[in-house]
């Protein structure tokens, strides 16, 4: 299918989300749509998908003008969309989810024709290497597989053009690779793909052409051969962007966080952190690298008091603290949580309220039980300016801000008080280049002020750029601690995968807190 968007303009009250956007997707092309959060990528795709009507402009499919009043018409025209947040019924099987809305029936009573649907699903999944068990219940499937179910859903509806809205935001590096394989296979079969993202490496790896949006307008269209990470980043942001974090060598001081023999169970009762030892000193950034699901979440939960360890000790600055969130905060620990909407902020409350979410019960924000609204508002206004939070006012519901700005609210809240230890879990997940650069700089600044930083990320680039020491976590233990100078993506990749490279069987005693060998 050849898709052409011509002069699409979409206005919302007070905002022009898309202005005069042209986009051509050739048959069998992977076309990356690149832009910061709020640049208008999703709006554009919603126009294409019939969720919004464009104020101006037209959509052409194979040189025929089409109008979609609802997604049903878009689907009928062969457009399939995989949303960032999956639209699946958790308690249904894969087959049932795929059939949903286009159920085929058999027999006089109109029973669901599961066997036929199941056969087609297997055909589709074999054709494009979309490994899925058609009889599995969706709630039991990992995120990467759920995404494949969404892709199968669109192919089951015979889509010729697939829109993937930030598909890699929820995936591990391995799953990314698998997704790219699937995309190449789809492309080979003639399916066009619009790939929405803000990750530059992925774009350069997979796209045939790249269109960059900024503030609702097309900045330009280019190809991976002509573009570099730097050129794409500056197109997106509108100014040159530092992709490499500028930082001086660390001057580690006294240990701030000391963990010994920590054992933590996950929600299902399995041991997720298995006898872990780690030390983080003042003035250094220790990055925890690892594939998602190797106990990082549970480790951070234990350090911040959200989960009670089964065994082991955690000490802050040599003193034992009651392991509940509030005493830990009061001991000078800041926490940027992994899931910002789930843990980090309260949609429904204003930006100002979210900025005092864990300091509301202290002066100057309250006296006794009375909240000081003026003090809260003053501090919020100041933080919004200092941390460049883009919001119409501090009284706006935080749920109405973009993801990057929500994260800035959390960062502003956590970084703006005296901090001895900063625990940042995936602080840049789902954020655009500008915000990532910004948050990296803030983290380094915190380190230079003398804070100890524990930084968890599944993205190797980020780990390599930011860390003073890299602790690789595998199956609940720190398998090795590597100096960034010595670390290569290959070495880290192997360690993260659980294999200890031969030459580092006895890791250079550079680190005081090397723990156990590879888990068996």
């Amino acid at each position: 299918m050849r898709l052409e968007l011509r002069g699409i303009t979409k206005r919302f009250p007070g905002v022009i989300a898309n202005q005069d956007v042209d986009l051509v997707v050739e048959p069998g092309e992977i076309h990356a749509l690149l832009g910061e959060n709020g640049a208008g990528k999703t709006t554009l795709m919603n126009v294409l998908y019939g969720l919004y009507q464009p104020d101006e402009g037209e959509i052409r499919i194979d040189d025929r003008v089409v109008t979609f009043h609802d997604p049903g018409q878009a689907i009928a025209a062969g457009i399939g969309m995989v949303h960032q947040h999956f639209m699946l019924v958790p308690v249904f099987t894969v087959t049932e989810n795929v059939m949903l809305g286009v159920e085929s029936v058999r027999g006089p009573l109109g029973q669901l024709d599961r066997p036929t649907a199941r056969r087609r699903i297997i055909e589709i999944s074999e054709a494009h290497n979309l490994k899925v068990d058609p009889d599995a219940t969706v709630e039991d499937l990992p995120v990467g597989v759920r995404q494949r179910v969404e892709i199968i859903k669109t192919l089951y509806r015979r889509s010729d053009l697939l829109v993937l809205d930030e598909p890699t935001a929820v995936l591990t590096p391995q799953e990314d690779e698998e997704l790219f394989e699937i995309m190449r296979s789809l492309k080979a079969s003639g399916t066009s793909i619009v790939f929405i993202t803000h990750k530059l490496n992925e774009v350069l790896e997979i796209a045939d052409r790249i269109t960059v949006l900024r503030r609702g307008r097309v900045v330009g269209t280019t190809t991976p051969a002509e573009a570099t990470r730097e050129s794409l980043a500056s197109m997106m942001v509108g100014r040159p962007v530092e992709l490499i974090v500028e930082k001086t060598p660390a001057h580690p001081g006294v240990p701030v966080l000391e963990i010994h023999g920590l054992v933590v169970r996950d929600d299902r009762g399995h041991v997720a952190v298995d006898g872990l030892d780690l030390q983080v000193r003042a003035g250094e950034i220790v990055a925890i690298a690892g594939v998602q699901g190797n106990g990082q979440t549970e480790l951070v939960d234990a350090i911040t008091g959200l989960r009670h360890p089964v065994a082991g000790t955690i000490r802050f600055g040599g003193t034992a603290v009651r392991m509940e969130p509030r005493p830990i905060f009061e001991a000078g620990v800041a926490h940027v949580p992994e899931d910002r909407l789930e843990d980090g902020c309260v949609p429904g409350l204003t930006v100002a309220d979210n900025l005092v979410l864990n300091t509301y019960c202290r002066a100057p924000f309250s006296h006794g039980i009375r909240l000081d609204r003026d003090a809260i508002e003053r501090s919020a206004t100041e933080l919004v300016a200092n941390f460049d939070i883009r919001t119409p006012s501090v009284f706006v519901d935080i749920g109405d801000l973009s993801g990057g700005n929500q994260q800035k609210v959390i960062v502003a809240r956590e970084f703006s008080r005296p901090v001895r230890l900063l625990v940042a879990a995936q602080p840049t997940r789902g954020l655009d280049v500008g915000s990532v650069e910004y948050i990296h700089r803030r983290i380094v600044a915190k380190r230079d002020e003398g804070a100890a930083v524990l930084f968890v990320s599944t993205e190797l680039d980020e780990v390599l750029a930011l860390a003073d020491r890299i602790a690789v976590m595998y199956q609940g233990r720190i398998v090795d601690i590597v100096e960034p100078a010595r670390a290569t993506p290959q070495l880290l990749g192997m360690l993260m995968g659980g294999s200890l490279p031969l030459e580092s069987a006895a890791p250079a005693g550079a680190s005081p807190a090397v723990a156990g060998g590879p888990a068996t």
Binding site: F12, P13, G14, V15, G38, R215, G216, T304, L306, E324, P325, R326, F329, H335, P337, E342, D343, G344, C345, V346, P347, G348, L349, D353, L357, N358, Y360, C361, S366, I369, R370, L371, R373, T381, V384, A385, I389, R390, T391, P392, S393, V394, F395, V396, D397, D400, L401, S402, N405
Partner: protein
Amino acid sequence: MTDELRAAPVPPASRLKGAARSLLVPVLAVVSALMIGAIIIVLSDLTFFQRLGADPGAALADALGSVWTAYGALVTGALGSPGTYLDAFASGDSGQIAAAFNPLSETLLAATPLIFTGLAVALGFQCGLFNIGAEGQLYLGAATATFVGFAVTGLPWYIHLPLAAAAGFAGGAIWGFIPGILKARTGAHEVIVTIMLNYTAFRLIEFILKFPGYQREGRFDPISKVTEATAWYPPLIEGLRANWGFVLGLAAALAVSWLLFRTTKGFEFRAVGFNPTAARYAGMSIAASTVMAMMISGGLAGLAGTSIVLGITRSLTSGISPGFGFDGIAIALMARSRPRGIIFAALLFGALRAGATPMQSATGIPIDLVVVVQALVIMFVAAPALVRGIYRIRVPEATGYEVFSKGWGA
């Protein structure tokens, strides 16, 4: 977002606009409900159909006339009529003036328990709790207040009344504590527990009312002793039934508003209500908030009970509330859980209730019409999209849908 959206203080004009916008749906809901009520009045008149064939014009005119009369009676029954007020003031007779204010007094009287139960439910909503048990808590509060009202004697009113009202608050709070602690400790859903506790409360009241020392001497039906006059809410104006219970209701609304939006506890309630995980991350205790919110909610419902037994009936029977606790849910929804809105919603419902009887005696239209109108108001308020659709109102760009509760599965 773009640069144009950088932080700027909200100008007062746009705050006013916001307030107008939040009033729009409830006001239109009331208007729509009254219009449908009018259609029902017309259609329920059989002669209308008989005459429609003969003389449609006259039939329609008559129909409009009867709607006008009915709603006129409803309004004067709830607010009084200008003529009566003028005559009364002209006469200068205090008895006559009081009589002129009687409809308004009845409206305030009917609104009083609704303010309390509306606040009770709204406070729960703000903490993510759906307190369906306001009815039971109301009865418990009424029982404890009645007991203090008749058992304690010889106190001056300024000690006895606060004591009895406090006992009512405590009685409701105890009944709210049970679902609160069960939810905090075991995760038992408060909807189920409070529904069940309503039945428990009704039976408990029947038991208490037969209890020697509580039951009125010489009576065999379930009725309590008469409370001491020192425990009664004094009338606002001598000769009228509206009393200081209403003022206490206004004060309670202010207090709840202050608690929710100006105190650390209220901040915790709302944070827990919107996102318990983040509240826990921020160091708040979800269990403590749940228990405390349920207790205050129950206590407010208990005060609704006191407004009846210490304000109207002077004693307790098992029939003191025709469902004020459940009306509280509707009022909280209509007011979107805002304390100030609850005052207005309760006054509206109170006015409908107070005007219904005069309307029936003036026009023969049954009181049930008012119940239908109330139900329609709730329906329209609960479905803002319907109202916006009817009146073609554009959805505001920042769709601020209130989250009332975490739903059944939470």
